[in-house]
């Protein structure tokens, strides 16, 4: 079946218009704190990506977590009072092949049979720039809790949602996940794209 050319052009034009109106209102200006204040739920479209560099360069080991949940609150009066709670389910880890996924789930790494979740609870949020902040908190994995810090950059926002990239370098050995070092770095690079839907 062929679509008449004129009709196709019309469809493309209306799609473009739709895209323009749906574009976030963020623009160049980050939202004011009062504008952004509120409670958000971490959307399923968020991406939790990690990389473990390997000896001799190369791509290293990379993966994503498919299942997670979380919420955060941006305090309109005092950003330091803002908070994040995040849970991820290591069973949902995805990598480039099944053998790697199974190894990550095994007792050597996440030990998902005994530890179903990895959690993060913030203790303090510090604004470091007009659209950047650091979030400090307690990361709990394999029953061990440690203070960790993530760098947050605002990337997008509108009245209903807000998006950040969040980066952090986590040493895995203290959580009992030192398997494979030093072939694979002890430091895991987290690169997350978190979208929050206003509740």
């Amino acid at each position: 079946m062929t679509i008449p050319r004129r009709q196709a052009l019309k469809a493309i034009a209306s799609l473009a218009l739709l895209a323009m109106t749906a574009a976030p209102a963020a623009g160049a200006r980050p939202p004011s704190l009062t504008e952004a204040a509120g409670t958000y739920r971490v959307a399923g479209s968020s991406v939790i990506h990690f990389t473990v560099p390997q000896a001799g360069g190369g791509s290293g080991l990379a993966g994503d977590f498919g299942k997670f949940s979380g919420r955060f609150r941006i305090d309109g009066n005092n950003i330091e009072q803002s908070s994040v709670e995040f849970t991820l389910y290591p069973e949902s880890v995805r990598s480039r092949e099944r053998r790697i996924e199974n190894f990550l789930r095994s007792s050597a790494v996440f030990d998902t049979a005994n530890f179903k979740t990895i959690t993060f609870r913030s203790t303090i949020v510090r604004q470091t720039g007009p659209d950047t902040a650091t979030v400090e908190g307690t990361l709990t994995a394999r029953g061990k809790s440690r203070k960790e810090r993530f760098e947050v950059t605002l990337t997008d926002w509108n009245r209903r949602s807000i998006a950040f990239t969040i980066r952090g370098s986590i040493r895995r050995a203290p959580y009992g996940m030192d398997v494979g070092t030093p072939i694979y770095s002890n430091v895991v690079q987290f690169d997350m794209k978190i979208r929050g839907q206003r509740r």
Binding site: G58, E97, I100, F103, S107, A108, V179, P182
Partner: protein, 206 residues
């Protein structure tokens, strides 16, 4: 003496022989353990890496052994060895020399072709590059099969080789095993072959 003589092995041959022998047996043992399905996954990962590091060591020493075997004379066979026995021994030794190279090379191919792409970090000191092989499940499986098959053949030949050495020592009572152990006959080669009949080791050690 570093070099082989007409009747004896020099220390270079002896040290290479026994080091490679120990590596072959150790690597086979690690190979069996690491392939077990009920093994702890962290231990399994470590064993694979040890297997690779010792395997590369075996490859390096086997290369030296081959070069030495090619340039150095071999001591004469013990007296009374039949022509057929001599040919069989030469073939077995040649096969062991070739297999000591082929098995680790095939192992290197497994690590290189594996889609897991785990670096070979030699004793956590130097990254040994992969061989230029296409990475695919099929290629990895093929080389793993070749590596295992050659490994089993080597193990079989080692058993025959060891049995032959014991046969020489206990049944034929000749110097075949003793001269590879590097003691017992050392005093002999300090003398001319003519003087061997009158040898007295006790006097010799003084």
């Amino acid at each position: 003496m570093l070099r082989n003589s007409r009747s004896e092995f020099g220390s270079a041959t002896i040290v290479l022989h026994w080091t490679i022998a120990a590596l072959i047996l150790g690597l086979t043992l690690i190979g069996f353990v690491m392939r077990r399905t009920d093994i702890d996954p962290a231990l399994q990962f470590s064993l694979y890496q040890w297997h690779k590091s010792f395997g590369f060591t075996a490859l390096g020493l086997a290369t030296l052994r081959t070069a030495w075997w090619l340039v150095e004379r071999s001591p004469a066979p013990p007296p009374g060895l039949g022509a057929l026995e001599h040919i069989a021994a030469r073939m077995a030794h040649g096969a062991l020399i070739v297999l000591a190279l082929a098995v680790p090379l095939a192992g290197w191919a497994v690590a290189s072709a594996s889609t897991l792409d785990i670096p070979s970090f030699y004793f956590n000191a130097v990254v040994i590059p992969h061989l230029p092989l296409a990475k695919s499940e099929a290629s990895e499986a093929f080389w793993a099969f070749v590596h295992a098959l050659l490994g089993y053949v080597t193990l079989g030949l080692v058993a025959i080789h060891a049995a032959a050495a014991l046969y020489h020592h206990f049944i034929r009572r000749d110097a075949v095993l003793v001269r590879m152990l590097g003691f017992g006959t050392r005093s002999h080669h300090l003398r001319t072959p003519d003087a061997e009949e009158n040898d007295d080791p006790i006097v010799e050690r003084k």
